[in-house]
Symmetry: C2
Subunit: 337 residues, 2 copies
Amino acid sequence: MLDERKLAVLRAIVEDYVSTTEPVGSKSLVDRHNLDVSPATIRNDMAVLEEQGFIVQPHTSAGRIPTDKGYRLFVDRLSGVKPLSSAERRAIETFLAGAYDLDDVVMRTVRLLAQLTRQVAVVQYPSLTRSSVRHVELVPLAAKRIMLVIITDTGRVEQRSVELPDAAEEDSIMHLRAVLNACLDGRHLTEVASVVADLPELVDPMDRPNAAAVFSVILETLVERTDERVVVGGAANLTTADFSRGLREVLESLEEQVVLMRLLGESGDHPSLTVRIGAENTVEGLRGTSLVATGYGTGDQVLARLGVLGPTRMDYPTAMGAVRAVARYVGQILAGS
Amino acid sequence: MLDERKLAVLRAIVEDYVSTTEPVGSKSLVDRHNLDVSPATIRNDMAVLEEQGFIVQPHTSAGRIPTDKGYRLFVDRLSGVKPLSSAERRAIETFLAGAYDLDDVVMRTVRLLAQLTRQVAVVQYPSLTRSSVRHVELVPLAAKRIMLVIITDTGRVEQRSVELPDAAEEDSIMHLRAVLNACLDGRHLTEVASVVADLPELVDPMDRPNAAAVFSVILETLVERTDERVVVGGAANLTTADFSRGLREVLESLEEQVVLMRLLGESGDHPSLTVRIGAENTVEGLRGTSLVATGYGTGDQVLARLGVLGPTRMDYPTAMGAVRAVARYVGQILAGS
DNA sequence: CCCTGGCACTCCACAGTCCTGAGTGCCAAG
DNA sequence: CTTGGCACTCAGGACTGTGGAGTGCCAGGG
């Protein structure tokens, strides 16, 4: 139903529109690309494409622009992933290699992605629930207050101050600390809840109230609080692409952690590249944007997701290339540190 | 040289322009405010004010708008700090009281300020260099790698992984940990450098290479790395105030930690409210904005700064009120936790 | 000396008009 | 199925006219 040439026409329209931001007409199409047919022929093809809903004209007698459906077909069948230049690869490598802790890795990744694609970059912190406990530390701050620090094998450190019901001896805190480490060390975070449930029996009855306070904070921190942070960068890039009236809406959405989590979550769990175009995003306020995202992590497990967000009219092949490449390098960095 | 009425006129112009965004003329001025003189008189006053550089007209035969110098006079002599409504005060209190750790306090503060003022909020993390060490923890991660965690009395936790030259025994690490805590506990961060210099003598000669690695990371983390983070929120509020073409520039500046640090740093060190208007900001790209900032902290020491950023045409009295109130509450929260 | 009303002048913003050029759809012929 | 031709549409730029808001200046009055 769509022959080879019509697809070529659609591809050409997408490419031209992305680079010029202007509706593209039959005439300009034939001399920019070397399709060996006349404008009139193209017009017939365009009429078909429009009828099928892949393109529209903003007003009568203007050129055509792709619809969401058009972009969808484009990314699915008409374009590949554009590999990065070797200079870009080197840049990524050296830039990320300089990072010295997890926060820094994430920050650098965001910057890198934003710069590479000239879009908004979104990077989710490596997920807690997929990592395991490496160490638990309790630090007395005051008589009835201690600092709880949990270190995971992804290098993430969670800290909480805990209010104790009773004043605690240094000794009993150290004991509790030992118990915690003995039982939680190496445990996958999904197991923590059940393990913690059995812990009270292992501590001195005298200390149970204090221990209970610590346990409940641990649960809160590791289990119930699924809200991994998402870091955003390159918001300035939104100004070039005019979102008619929606810029404010987009900026607002980008500041809502919950919204971002949902957005990234929608792309599913598989580690490969995902593209969500325009209205495919159920997030109110981001209906006019597209998201190119992928999972990343060490080895084959997906720790979190990252990607770029931009107007539906974006350079998908390049964005996909950059996202994929960056995700790979970040994975390597995380595995190596 | 500027009599009472001329000042009143300037005040009225600023107030009207801020609320309407439109150049204000003599006629509209007299009936909005009850100055008991005729428009003609106002016009004469305006002529003087313009001559002195407090106001300008965008084009002949349009109303006047304040210059940076005009705003400066306004905040210095013509307006007070508008206190918050009691409802707002309650909102601040309850909103901040719900915070459970330092990160959360900062995040909530940013949101609060942005919402209250409808401007961009900037909050600097409590400064390391002004706090002292509460605890140092070393956690073995692998044979030649340990995690260094430093907890300060402002509740901040710094973590770094340290690569050791030699494989380390559990024992020697524990010893090092004891030494570190003995010597650093309670030390003001400004003292850390000199204290650490003397430490190598206290450890077993065998362990010196490893200890040296740890020490150098401590210095890096606490002393050399003055780059406290600045968190930004409410960027969406920039869209209402049109910065002609500068929006991109502003957004870019807001993503540069270094720039933000400099911006806040310029306001000096004293704990009181500071206002920097338009070109008074030396930061390229923020010349079209104003900053209302203040120090905050526990008791009388200034731990860091926070404030709001907006167009020079902003509601200074309200912004100042909000900034001051929020800073106070944050100080209380920090002191109490 | 300062305030006031009057007056002539300026100029932006807005609406209307016209025109051009890019682009279309349709059709008949190759 | 492709092509050239043709009539048609319409957004956007250039130009014009008008109304209104605002100004500066001046002469008269408190």
